[in-house]
């Protein structure tokens, strides 16, 4: 029984990594020990196969068709690279690409890394209980479904005569009301709403990393003559280098594919594509075109290009940040 499972897992894992299957199963110890390793990997491999590789392949095939809500009852019509040509020649393509880079980079640097680091540094420098309470409060939006959180802000910022802001500010402060989302800077509103929530992830990771820095190191630095700023720069940040790089990588990729904040707050507007990002375009093409025509094939094309970019970025990050240095050869040798 176990033997059988191991063999299946082995085959599965080999298929996943593209390794040739064993011709005749050798009975050496080596094979048996690697077989159990593949066995442990099997659940993860199966998930990746079903939810990433299989759906990715489907999407890729779809991107070569003109499948839409107008023609889905007929056989798939393959149109070659037409969708890709259409994407790259779209007059709004440069704008959407720029928007995406702006949205990802700004949110990442200012909030997911910057604010998160500041919050972690501050809450680990004040009395423990206060720091804990502060972080807890900051985490609350994470306990709320993000759609609810976004809609709350949407309601707060909505234009006259709606919006909590409009009810309060003109009444009590005498300032003129208006549409906080569109009247102010729509980008600022989107990025703030996302960033305040997004920073809490890094905050928690950085906090635990900062708290695990040995106290003696900080004492030594103080005695050596370092002030608060130099301790942060020379000791604390280098000591939490790996969590920083991890958050940078992880958040880049998740920001790249996130569009729910923009969809719910501005729908990419105001006007034409002002706050539209790549993932939102893909979603709109596939499911929410104005003319009631869902262009699944074309939407898939946007998605495929985005996934490709994300994969390349992931590889670049791994190489650039040398994550492989984190992984040591196992100390336990196979006997």
């Amino acid at each position: 029984m176990t033997q059988q499972i191991e063999e299946e897992a082995d085959a599965l894992a080999r298929a996943a990594v593209g390794a040739p299957g064993p011709q005749r199963r050798p009975l050496g110890r080596r094979v048996r020990s690697t077989a159990s390793a593949y066995g442990f990997m099997a659940p993860a491999v199966a998930l990746v196969l079903v939810f990433f590789v299989a759906s990715g392949l489907l999407l890729l095939i779809l991107s070569f068709t003109d499948l839409s809500s107008a023609n889905f009852s007929r056989a798939w019509n393959f149109i070659g690279l037409d969708n890709y040509e259409r994407l790259f020649t779209d007059p709004f393509f440069p704008k959407i690409a720029r928007n995406t880079v702006f949205y990802v980079v700004t949110t990442l640097i200012v909030f997911n890394l910057g604010l998160a680091l500041v919050l972690a540094l501050v809450t680990t420098s004040i009395p423990r209980r206060a720091g804990f309470f502060f972080r807890l409060v900051w985490l609350l939006p994470r306990l709320t479904p993000s759609v609810v959180y976004i809609l709350m802000w949407q309601r707060i910022g909505a234009g006259d005569p709606f919006g909590i802001y409009n009810q309060i500010v003109p009444e009590f402060l005498g300032a003129s009301g208006g549409n906080l989302i569109f009247g102010g800077s729509p980008w600022a509103f989107v990025i703030l709403t996302n960033g305040f929530n997004g920073a809490s992830f890094g905050m928690i990771i950085f906090t635990s990393a900062l708290e695990s820095i040995p106290k003696d190191l900080l004492t030594a630095a103080k005695v050596d003559g370092a002030g608060t700023w130099r301790i942060i720069r020379d000791i604390k940040i280098p000591m939490i280098k790996w969590p920083l790089l991890f958050i940078a990588t992880y958040q880049t990729l998740s920001l790249l594919t996130s569009f729910e904040y923009i969809l719910l707050l501005t729908e990419g507007g105001p006007g034409l594509f002002t706050t539209e990002v790549w993932a939102l375009t893909s979603y709109k093409r596939a499911f929410a075109t104005y003319f009631g025509n869902s262009q699944w094939g074309y939407g898939a094309t946007w998605a495929i290009v985005l996934v490709t970019i994300a994969l390349l970025l992931a590889v670049a990050y791994v190489k650039l940040f040398r994550f492989n240095e984190l992984i040591e050869e196992p100390r336990i040798e196979n006997l």
Binding site: T219, V223, D224
Partner: protein
């Protein structure tokens, strides 16, 4: 630099880390803080370093109160048990860090780091990562980092505790030599009393946050003012007996059910004046094992049974029971003492100590 601690106290809510510590350290002196775990050695040291803010009392350097002075402006170097080296920097990076913070010019930094590293015997390891060093090398780097800025005061917090016994011996000598050569006032925290006895000019013995005694090593050993000091200083530790000191025919005798020993007058007068029991202390080396009781040792001889024998190499540490009262003595190996042997012991009572059982204060030196 002269250091004075005046009623220095540190407490956190319920916990008292250091309780009214008062002592002074002369320029160029090496003072050991000695005491069991949790007695407040590190707490006191960190107040001197400026890391902990005293709850009460003052710290003065050369007569100037420095309570409010930041650690970086106190002119101190510090060495930790954990070494506390910056793991992301090289050896050069670590040793040069205090100088880089002073924004000295690159050439000067390089020269001073090289000088200190050569002095510590790690001159050829400057480019190494910390993880690539042995424990002993790491401690030398830590020492180099403390010395490179030419501090007025060196603070050591159990710097040798993580090293193996042999290396500890070597480093002990090196630190002492360096400290004397450079003439830097030093505070050396340790719970190893051999380290304290061999290195320190004076020893501050602490217990539960309180300074128990502060004196030169010989004085602590020969003239302990409290029971705690007598018990803590010396290895193997002093033996204690509950006795009553009384006058018998003009002699002073220390008596209990198991013990009856003649005590010289200069040792026992005060103990004799106490009504009731006192605690008598005798160091293991002040008890001789003999073959036969000689008449000269009349009144100084007791017999017991060996219950434990621990070979220490040159000598055996023998646990002996005298009618149910236990003591430990050092016996020459050539005697070949075995468990169960009956042993004749001669006590050198002219070196006996006496303590009040209530106050635990010495009845000789307090």
């Amino acid at each position: 630099m002269r250091v004075e601690l005046d009623n220095l106290t540190k407490s956190w809510d319920e916990v008292i880390g250091a309780d009214s510590i008062t002592l002074d350290i002369a320029d160029g002196e090496l003072v050991a803080f000695l005491g069991p775990s949790g007695c407040g050695k590190t707490t006191t040291l960190l107040m001197v370093a400026g890391i902990y803010k005293p709850t009460a009392g003052t710290i003065s350097f050369d007569g100037q109160v420095v309570n409010e002075v930041a650690p970086k402006d106190r002119g101190i170097g510090m060495v930790f048990q954990s070494y506390a080296l910056y793991p992301h920097m090289t050896v050069f990076g670590n040793i040069s860090y205090p100088l880089r913070l002073q924004k000295l010019n690159k050439g000067v930094i390089k020269e001073r780091v090289q000088t200190v590293a050569d002095m510590m015997g790690i001159g050829d390891l400057l480019e190494r990562k910390i993880a690539q060093l042995s424990g002993g090398q790491q401690q030398r780097v830590a020492l180099g980092r403390a010395l490179v800025k030419e501090p007025q005061l060196l603070l050591f917090d159990e710097p040798l505790s993580n090293l193996d016994a042999r290396l500890r011996l070597t480093m002990r000598g090196e630190i002492k030599r360096l400290q004397e050569d450079l003439g830097i006032t030093s505070i050396y925290v340790t719970h190893d009393q051999v380290e304290a006895m061999t290195m320190a000019d004076r020893i501050a013995v602490m217990s539960k946050g309180v300074l128990q005694a502060y004196d030169v090593p010989e004085a602590l050993y020969d003239r302990p003012k409290t029971l705690f000091v007598a018990a803590f200083v010396g290895n193997p530790p002093m033996n204690f007996f509950d006795v009553e000191v009384m006058r018998v025919n003009g002699d002073l005798r220390a008596k209990s059910d198991a013990i009856d020993l003649v005590i010289p007058h200069d040792r026992g007068e005060k103990a004799a004046a106490v009504d009731g029991k006192v605690i008598m202390g005798v160091r293991p080396e002040d008890v001789d094992v003999v073959d036969d009781a000689s008449p000269a040792a009349e009144g100084l001889t007791l017999a017991g049974e060996a219950v434990v024998v621990e070979p220490l190499g040159r000598e055996d540490l023998v646990g002996i029971s005298i009618n149910g009262v236990d003591l430990r003595v050092l016996v020459d190996k050539t005697r070949g003492v075995r468990v169960g042997d009956t042993i004749t012991l001669v006590f050198n009572t002219s070196r006996a100590q006496f303590f009040d059982p209530e106050t635990e204060a010495s009845l000789l030196w307090a």
